[in-house]
Every structure is written in C-alpha cells, then in structure tokens.
Symmetry: D3
Subunit: 289 residues, 6 copies
C-alpha cells in the first residue's frame, strides 16, 4: 500500500514525495480567513497523526506545511468559537466543560509528540495564534524568509493554552524576547524568530523553497535507522522534562534494549560496502499495510 | 487616586508616564558608589512591588530603570555588609542567621514574580552584581547599547545567591557563555548579553533611549486585556519550573476559569468597531484607590 | 608536589601550564582513527578526573583538548565494540549487561560534574560522536574556527546515550537546530554551534589558538576564590535540574555556610591594597600532596 | 436511558443497583482458570470505563467485583501469553513491540484514574497478579474476610508492570511488608492487607457481604455533590504525584472555578429544609443519554 | 519578657505552661457554632504563628487545642461565607478573586510549616472540616479517645482546598480509607484515625487528658537542642516533597553548617555530668524580647 | 568459589547459610559501647555491599543482623567523632569538609539500594541512631519482640543526616508518630514500630528467632527468578521517588527488555513438571568466581 493512502481528508492533503516521507498540507480555503482552525480541523489534524502511529505505517519523517500561497494558518476560527454552548447550570459546570474541551484540544495539537518519527514544520507567510502552538509541538521548524509570526491570543483576551506556553519556553533561548512577543501579540519576523532560537534556519525564498528544504531534510532523516531516530526523539522529549540524572537512567534502560538492533551491523555493513543501508520497518503492522 | 500616589520613597521614585504604566527609578546617589543596594534599599524595593500587588492597584506594566546618568546599579553596598552582626554563640546559629537573611533578601528581589503584570528592566551604563539578580527576576530586559554587565560575586569571594544563578540559566540560551561570565566576574557587553539570550534587544543610544523604548513597550502591554496578560505571565512562570504535561494540565485548570472573561467579547467588539478595547481592572480593590 | 604529578597515563597527558591550572590532552594516535575512545580510554579519562577530586589536589580550572593536529576525537572506537560479549543466556541478561555497561560509561564521561572546579573544552578539527558527549558534560566550550561537529550516533544505528541528549538540550538555546543535527548526524560548523548556543566563542585560528584562549580563561578563573567558583558551579548544576524556588532554598542553605569564608575579607583586602588576593586550597588534602 | 444501558459485554456485566451507581462484575467463567484476563478482557475493561467517561453518563460511584463464587480474578491468562508474536527482525524491534503492548495494557488498567467518580473494588476469594494491579488503580478497596492476595508476577519470572508497583507503594503505609510480598509472591490475608494499609476495611462474610457493603458506600457517595466528589478525586490524584506546595497551587486554580457551583447553595438549602439535596449532572451529555 | 506576652487575641488565648512551651487555645464561643472559623479568626491564627517566628521568640514546642468543652472546631463559619462579594464584572475576575482568597487562606493555615519548632495538635470532641486542614499542617496529632472527625467539605458541595488534600495523603498510610472519608464526609472515630495513621496516639480520657499528654510531649521536645529539633523539622518537610537523593543532598548542605553548633558538646557535657543540658536560643532576637 | 569467600572483615562476618543467601553479621565487641560504628566500620560495611555488586556474585538475598547478644548497634561511635579535624582555615572550608564527609557516609549506608538483591534487616535488642539509618536503607525489616528503637541524633544535638530522615518518611505510614520519635529521641518498642509501618512483622523470641525468620524469608526470595526480583526492586525504588506516570513509563522501558528472559518459560516448565525452577545467575561474572 502506498504510504499516504487513505490519509487525506477534507482540509488536509497527504502525499509521499520521498520514500518513507509524508508531506501533510493544510488547505482550508473555502472560507475566510483561510486555514483558520475549526474544532473539526484540529480534530482531523490530531486524528491523522494518531492514525499513522496506530496503524504503524512506515513513516520516517513528516513535513507539515500550508497549501495556501499567503499564510501557514490564520489560527483559530473565531466563527467557531461562537458555537460554544452557553446554557450551563452553573459556573463550575461551565468551567468543567471548558476544561475538558481544552484537554482534548491540547491532546490533538500535541499529537506530534506521540509520533515515533520527527515532524518538520515548514512555514511561510503568516503564522498566527494556534499556528504557533502547532509548530511548537513539532520537532524542527523551518521558515521562509518573509514569514511573520504572532502569538495572537493576548489580543483576543486570553492566554495561549494549547501548547505555545508549555512547549516554547523549553524550545528557545531568549525568555525575554519570548515574553515580549507573548505579552504584546506583536508580529515578529523570521529573523527575530531565528534569533530567539525558534527556527533551525530561515530559508531564502517563499513557500516552495521552504517546503523543498524541509523535504530534503526529511529525506535525509528517512534514510537513517528508524530505531536510532525514534529512540533519539523519545530520549530528547524525556530530557526536556526531567533532570539530567533521571534522563541518563531512563536512557540506559531504553538503550539496553534498543542496542539489540540489526540496524547497527547494517550501518557498518553499508559503510564498508559503500552502499546505502536498508532498514526494516519499526513495527510489523507496517508490513501489512 | 493617581496610580503612582504614595509609592515613591527615599531612594526610589515612582511615576505614571502612561495610563496603567508605572515607571520605577532607582536613585540612591547620596553616597558612593551610587545606587549601591543597602539592606534598606532592597527591602524598600521588594516592599514597593508587594504594596502595589497587595493594594490591587490597576498597574498593567512597569518599567524599572536607574535615575543616575552612568549606571543601573553598583550592586550590593559593601559598607552595609560590615554592619553584619558577628557575635553568635556558635557556627550553626551564625549560619542560621545568614540563612534567614538570604531568604528575606531573595524574597525581596523575587518580588517581580509575585506581580500580576510584566516588569521591564531598562538598563544602561554598568549593571553590577545584585543588578543582575534584579533584572533576572524581571520579565523582559532592554539595554542601551553601551551597557556593561558583571556577575561580580565571584570577585568578592562568594557565589551569587539572590537569584542570578536560579533565574538566569532558565532565561538564556548559552550555558557555556553564562558559566564563563559567572566564573570570571568579567565585564560583558550588551552585544554579548544579547547573543547569550539575556536581552530582548539592544537599544541604540543611552539611558533616555532605552527608557523610552521600554515605556513604549509597556504602554502596548498596558493596552491589552489584563486577564490575558496576567494569565500569560502566571502560566509562563509555571512552565519554567514544570514539565510540559504538568503545565498543560495547570493551564487547562487555570483557563477554564479565565476564559469566562468579558475581555474576550470586548476585544471582538473593539475589532469590529475599529476602536480601542476598554478593560476593567483585575481586582476590585483598584477601584477604591 | 607538582599539581600534575602522576596524572599522565597511556593516552592522556597532563601538565600544569599556569598555577592551579591543569591541561589535559587526549593523545591516542597509535591506531586509526586517532583519538578514538576505547573502553580503556574512557575509563582512564573518568578515573583521572575522579583521582584529582579524590586526592583534593588544588586544581582551580582545567582545560581539555586534543594533542593531535587534525581532530578533537573520532568518537567511540568501533573496533572496541566488536569485543562485546555475545553469549548471554537470554535477552534480559544481555540487556542487563548492556545497562550496567552504559551506566559505567555515563559515569566516566560525567566526571566533570563531580569536579569542584570548572572544565573548559577547547576543541578543533573534528568533534565526533562521543566527543559531543564529552564536551557537553564540561562547563565551557571554546572551538577553533574551522571546527566541525557531528552527533554521529544515528549514523551508526543508535541514539546517543552517554550524555549528549541529557546535557545538551539544557545547555543550548535552539532545540529545533539541535534536533536537526541529532536526527541527521550531519556535520555542523563552529558558526552553527555558536548560533545554537553550544559555544562561548569561536576562536580565530586553529588548535594552538583555541588552547591558548582556553588556558587564558582558565588562569583567570584560577585567580579567583575557590570557594566562590566551586559554589557557583555546584549551584549552577543544581539550578539546571530543579525549579527556581528549589534552587533558591538550596542556595540559601549552601551559602549560609560558604559565606563564612576568609576569601571574602581577603578579596576586600586585596582590592584596597591593589594586590592580588591569595586563597588557601579548598581541601586540606591538597597541602599534603 | 438507563445508566447501565449498552455497557455489558462478553465477560463483564453492568447494572445500576442504586441511582447513579454502577455495579461492574467480571464474569469470565467459560475457561480455566476463571476470570483470567486475556488481552481481550482487559481491553474490554478499559474501554468500558472510558466509554462511560466519554459519553458523560451521570455515574457518581462504581463498584467493581467478581461474579464468580470463589475468586476475584486469577490474574493474567497464561494461555493468552503464548499467542505473543515471536518472529521479530531483531531484539530492539521485539522490545519496542513489548513496550507498546505494556503501555496499552497500563492504559487500560489505569482507566479508573480517568473517571470523574470514585471506583470501589469489592474483592473476595483470591486476588492474583493482575488483580492487584486492577484494585491498586481504584480509589477504595473493600475485602471479604477470607480474601487472599498474591502479587504473583515474581513467581512467573517478571516484575509486576501494569500498575502494582506504581500505585501500591503510594497507597499503603508499610513498605517493608509490601516489598516482602512483592519479592516472594506469597499469599497474604485480608488482615495483613489491612495492616499494610491496602484496605479501607475487612468486611465479615463473603462475596455477597462485601459487595453489599461496597454498594452501600457507593450510594452514599452518589448522594453527594458530583462537583465536590470529582474535584476531591482529581486533587487527591494530583496530590499523590506532586509536592504539597504544587498541590495547593493547583487546588487554588481548580477550585477558583469549581466553587462557582450551585451545589453549594443547594446543600445549604437542603440542610435548612431537612431534605435531600438534588444535584444536576456534571456534564450536559448525560442529559442526552 | 514572658514568652507568651502580647500573643493572646480576641478568640485565641496563649500561655506558657512550661519553659519554652506555648499553649495556644482556640476559644470562639460568642456565637454558634462555637469555634467556627471566620476569615478574621484564621487570619488571626496565621498571624499569631508568623509573629512568633518573626520576632524570634524562644519557643521550642507549641500545643494547639480548643478551650471549649465539646469540640476542637466546627470548621468554617458558614455565616462568614455569605459575606462574600458577588458583583464581579465577569466570571474570570470572580475566579481570580477566589483564587487570591484561597491562597491567603492556605497561607494562614500552613503557618505551622513556617515555624522552626514542632506544633502538636491536641484534639477532642468534634474536628470538622477546616479543623482537619489545621491539624494536617501540624507536626504531631494527639486525640482524646472520644474524638470524632469529618472532612466536611463534600457535604457542603466542594473539595477541601485549604490543606487537607495536600498534607493528609502524605501523612497517613491508608489511601483507601482516606479517600473513603474524603468522598463521604462521614464521621470517623479516633480509633479509625489512628488505624489510618493520622494520630500518634489516642489518649484515654477527654479534653484535659489529651492536653496534658501533649504538653508533656512538648516539654520533652523543649528540653532538646533547638538546632537539632528545628533542623529535623526542616529536613522532614523537605523529605516529604523531594526524592530520597535530593533530600540527602539538601541534608548534607544543611548539616555542614548546623553541625558547627555548641549544642553537640553541650549534650556530651551534660551526659557526663548527669545534668540537664542548657541551650541558647536559636535566634538573637529572642534575647531582646 | 563459595559465595561468602573473602567477604568477612575485621568487625563483619559473612556466611552463606542457604544457597544464594548471605548472612552478614555486625560484630564489633572489642570496645564499649559494642557495635558502635566508627568511620572505619561504616566504610567497611559500604565496601562489603559494593564489592558483592561489583564482583557480580550470585547473591539473591541478604540478611543483616548483629552477632552480639544484647543489641543491633549502639549507633555512631562517639569516641570516633572526637578525632575530627579542627584546624580549618575558615568556616566555609570546615563546612565543605563536613559536607564531603556526610556525602561519603550517606553513600556507604545507602549501599543496599545499589544491590540488585533484597536486604532484610533482622534486629533485636537496641537499635540506636545510625542503626535506624542502616535499617531504613534496607528493603525489609524484621524485629524480635523485645527490640527497642531510638532516633538518637536529637539527643546529641543534631538532625539525623545519614538516611533516617530521607528514607523513613517514605517507608512508614504514620508521619505524626515518626515526627514524635524523631523530635524526642525517646525509645519506642517493636510494637510501636510495627504500628508506624516500619516493620514487616514482630518475631516472637529474641536474636536467634528473628534471624531464623529472616533467613527463611531470604531463602524463599533466593528461590525466585533473579531477573524478576531485581527488576521488582529497581522499579520499587524508582516508584518511591517519581510520579505514578513517570514510573509506569520507566517500567515499560525496563520490562521491554527484562521480559526477554528464559526465567519466564523456566517457571512455566517447573510448574508443569512440579519441580523447582533453576535460574542462571544475573551476571556472567558470577560464574567466574
């Protein structure tokens, strides 16, 4: 079965431009603002990533981008907010409903952390509000040179609650600048984002160039041992949230099993024979698809 | 009541240059070195910020700077150290006295974290020793281009113990450079500080320019929903000290209540009517002042 | 006794170029690739640092570099891996053996964190695989301008498990770029390393220049109070792995004792008399050597 | 709709003996040993609890017991283990498959922690292996006087990995006794279990008596405010895994919303009028069912 | 100055029945239910303990009891709740006000943890709601044999939020029983409380007997080295909230200073001379009072 | 080689009363008080346990007891304390020396946690001061019925700093009683210790009976799969210091490797054939001895 088969949906298109590499594009242009995220869209997004994981498809890297010419995403669809139920018996039950909604929303946007492969966000144009939550939960961020970002939530009267404030402070290296843009909702450029430590690199050009660069990176990652890459991802996520000594202990436990992989002799064999190594899928399920 | 009323004290002057914005200036010039912090001064500093919080004044952003032309602060007042009591019955009781003194000192300098609004440090000239502790506990740091910094404590024979080593490693993005300047007490420039991730930006010009830039930023923040800004600050402080999943859980609990604010419809109303939104104070007490 | 006496071993040479400063050079050139780390070498490396600490030698700063002209280290010695035992009664016992091996390996490479003095890694040429683990566990990193780095493990089929993924995410300020180089094993330059926040500085020139710069820094550190420097190191390591409030509490407890040092009056005396301060060793044992 | 409608399945029967109280009975007697847990059964068990939560059914307490006369559960179905796949390409991929299997298994058995209402385990006869994991994840444990327990895993050659060792040490008050029974797999009586702190109480009599006592407790809980009970459960689970100060902070955030409930005036009204209070369901969805 | 001087207030009487021992009695009998806690009373309670600490009075143990014949406390004063402000501009600001109220309330009830000396709660009669929060934050609990307890909050429609759920799970050894009484608000006896691990002992007799026993214990504690007792308290509080290894590290740092006390030679001297040791106060301030 | 060969030393005798079971007896009777721990003795004790682990001897359970008729240990040897060096250049260096001494001391007494097999302390007579630290770090505690315990440190002017306050609060189920005996240094009986949750059981009789009971338990443990027992110990130690979810994650990683053991089929084989299972040693080194 083709890797991308049955994955595209209403507003998300999925293709396999390189072996083991998926390209996921957000394409909600039917209404304005375009690529605005309704509940339906973010549920679709989370479900897509969980489906790939659940089915054990042999994906080894994924690029996330926008199909639209001018922006990555306009953030949350405000029109969608107005559909919120309002007739709750009391403030506590209303809060509880909000709490469960937020947990579900966070779960969907946090899906990249549950994938065994790296996800590269390739952004261009405008990245607004929820767009920042989305790319914060990805592994790697590439931006086209004209990209502009805004943590828009404060401008709408709320604190970002879907991941931006949980992931971003741990991903960047300038808390002063991060707080400045979080408190003001002001636009910040790709250059500022890079200075803050948000981006791997700023890619000269626009949408096509940044996607090309991200796909190239993805195909390099996809050529590596999936045991090595997925273990690295897991250990890095653990490292972010634990002390160095806790992480070393976890890593020793994890690698005591992971080192029993044929990918190690396979890389040695390939090096000696000057050929490309060939790695079997991580999970058997992949073979069945 | 004017927002800044009854806040100025012996060595600290407080004004309200923009609505909901306080400007706090350190101005201890009576003796040399100027702006050196005696116990009395840091107690005054902590008490000022706690008083604003306790009274629920409707402050939405605060700029901290020095009133003196050549430096932000010379750090701790060495003369003050010599007043330390010495006749303790034994080493344990002496240590206990020191411990309580340090806790009180840390509490005063950590006051910005107890404020519901952001604090922007606008520095120029020299920032020495305790000056680094002070700005490390602030939300945002702006420096004039000629500013020089020194973590002076090692040069005096001790480890920085009032906040520098607790806050700074979590605020910047280059631990190698941070350790270098912490171990050597050498001066480092605004450019190096920016490269380390300590500063939002280096402002061309001197004291006046950096204060003007900080006040401009403060007035932007002050125009935003105080529920949104204060929730963002609280969640960012929590994020620094907890895992991503712990923070997401806390954020969902917090925002389940905070989202029940009129600031959200008010921002939508203002956007539609192309007018500035008007937000009521966070706390009722503010109205009484 | 000379500070470096009896410290050199088979592949590691140790000298004392400045008072209280050790220079440790890796020099395993007998076989190819040079400076590849066998079990024997990393055990020697960890034992050297622990011996210095255990004997209480009056070391106040240490520079780690390579004696070879073209590289810092080629990483793990692959030939050494092939000596691994294979006839285990079952997979669990094999994993357990691997687990114990990894813990021992991590312990050796983590030795810099157990030293009371700062360790400065001065690198040039190639820094491969284990080389990254080694410098990640040091306090400060200097690189010659042509240096190239690679987190090589993924290319060999495994996740880095000796410290890179535990220490590095907490030392740098761009997780996106860190993950990119960790997932791809690609070479990255000193300039990229600096941008990531890995290096204090890039030193123009090659091996000699970077070592000279590091030794100069070491001699500055060695001129400071050893109580101040070692307390700063301890508190910074604690800060990395604990919340700000936990760290402030620990610091108050630690400094309540450390402030009872004569190094404080000695620095004041030296400042007044415009002479260099003289500090006694941290530990008595030092006197005996 | 009746509360228990559409919940019973192949080996689990569900009834509603009191308003808002579910009684869940394990009844896998088709084969020997009876009530042994196959993958199918534990998946069914986890799915049942998640379904109740997901549908927002107005359950306020749940009693879990066994329908069989002689035992609560025989633990894992050994026959099921033999179906495990064996032809993995290497040890790492086999371990990864095991890892994912364990996570799924843990997730199912940990379902009680995801329910908003308390779950009371009412056990009799033998409680073996997985039976301990299951009751450890419940809120409250009642045992008939003749009940015998065994942490059976060590006798089968493995450490308990589905919850016993994660939940139990935090639930009881005698780690010495807990380790003794964990290391030996020996049977321990209800009296010993009570002394260890595992049980609320030992109920005189057998299966019927313990179920009656648990249902009585459940109906008391079901008569209370669901906001109060579910908030208490959430805060207790948080308390187990966080420091006291972290928990106080979380509780203040949580209750700042939860206190806006009509359940508080409703309880006051009921007290004054000497009538039973009536509480609306926690979630709207409940009304639709 | 007598130790208890100027400490008694409107509803709290303070005496010094033994040297260095304070007896604090709650005596709010003016209205029904007696000893119900208004905001005024709990503020008074917290302020009393903080005043003792702040002034450095030479208190070495404190007994907390009720002056009333029939109960320890009736819990929160419901009449007081009705004074709560209600006209908030929106739900978020109302929640924020509640949040700040809860934090202040928790701070007052948590005051015993900020005292350097142990606090022994000696209870009799009924201990209701807030009474449980209060005794949970104390070091030691003694109860007269007829005492009855109830975690009353669920009966009023809320989760206990002032300390019961934060402190109690970490203080007792039977989470099943704790959850049972927390979910039901049912009365539980001193015998059950002891079985749960809540009490040091159940004292035969009533109010007078339990107070006598607690005072006797207090006078034993007061005869010990205050450095030893206060260090033990501090380390135990740290131990509750940190891992064993973190606690050992903190303890080594703390005791490296605390062991430099004359209390150690003083105890040896007293032992040899068969006399009672005499210890100087912990803090100098004590001498001045 | 016999399991106990070359393990006995000056004051510690080691034998192998059952296969894979070591009996370690403290026997320092040359001077008064007997079994008092000098630095030499505790260093010997820690080294013994680490030697067993390091050599990979096939020990599967260990019983620790005293060879003397009247007591387990008199605690620290006061005479030894007086040998402490006193001529430090300043208070900070003295504290640092103390700190390093305490860390080394804690490391020795914490050795049981580094053993892969359970350690059962079998105590009788008096258990004083350091004796409590020692048994707190063991897995299981048995006491003869007349045993008396005292946390003696407060009586000597210090807080227990070698493990009692780090391990005990997490091992027992009554913090009120624990604090009472920690603050008073009073003797408490085996019955009280059992009520507190400190002991698995109180064994009728004296020294011989409690040792016999402990050896019997040890031989049961030694008959089990060493993979199962050692994994259980490791996971229980992790569980004590981490959240439930962290522990479940670690357990899944650990057991993904540990489940690949032949001990599982071996137990099934033995069950079917009604014979005793035979397990190979955990580590190969064992075979060589």
């Amino acid at each position: 079965m083709a890797l991308a088969q049955n994955l595209s949906s209403k507003w998300i298109s999925v293709s396999e431009p390189h072996p083991h590499v998926l390209h996921v594009e957000l394409a909600r242009q039917a209404r304005k603002p375009v690529n605005a995220f309704s509940s339906e869209l973010w549920a679709e997004y989370g479900a897509l990533l969980d489906k790939i994981t659940h089915e054990g498809r042999d994906v080894r890297a994924l690029v996330l981008s926008s199909a639209l010419p001018k922006l990555f995403t306009a953030g949350i669809d405000i029109a969608d907010l107005s559909k919120t139920e309002t007739d709750f018996p009391d403030g506590a039950r209303k809060s509880l409903s909000t709490y469960h909604h937020l947990k579900e929303f966070q779960h969907a946007i946090g899906a990249p952390e549950r994938c065994s492969f790296p996800i590269i966000a390739a952004v261009h144009g405008l990245v607004v509000g929820l767009g920042i939550d989305i790319i914060s939960a990805c592994d790697i961020r590439y931006a086209a040179e004209g990209t502009q970002f805004t943590i828009k939530e404060v401008d709408v009267g709320l604190a970002a609650d879907i991941g931006t404030l949980a992931y971003l402070p741990k991903a960047v290296g300038n808390q002063s600048l991060l707080r400045e843009v979080a408190y003001t909702s002001r636009l910040f450029s790709a250059a500022e984002a890079e200075r803050m430590g948000l981006l791997s690199t700023v890619v000269p050009g626009g949408r096509e160039e940044v996607i090309a660069a991200a796909l190239k990176l993805a195909s390099v990652i996809a050529s590596k041992s999936p045991i090595a890459v997925s273990s690295t991802k897991r250990i890095l996520l653990h490292s972010r949230d634990h002390s160095a000594s806790d992480n070393l202990e976890y890593t020793a436990a994890w690698n005591s099993a992971a080192l029993q992989t044929n990918d190690i002799p396979e890389t040695l064999r390939a090096t000696k024979s000057r050929s490309a190594p060939a790695f079997v899928p991580l999970r058997k399920a992949a073979a069945k698809l």
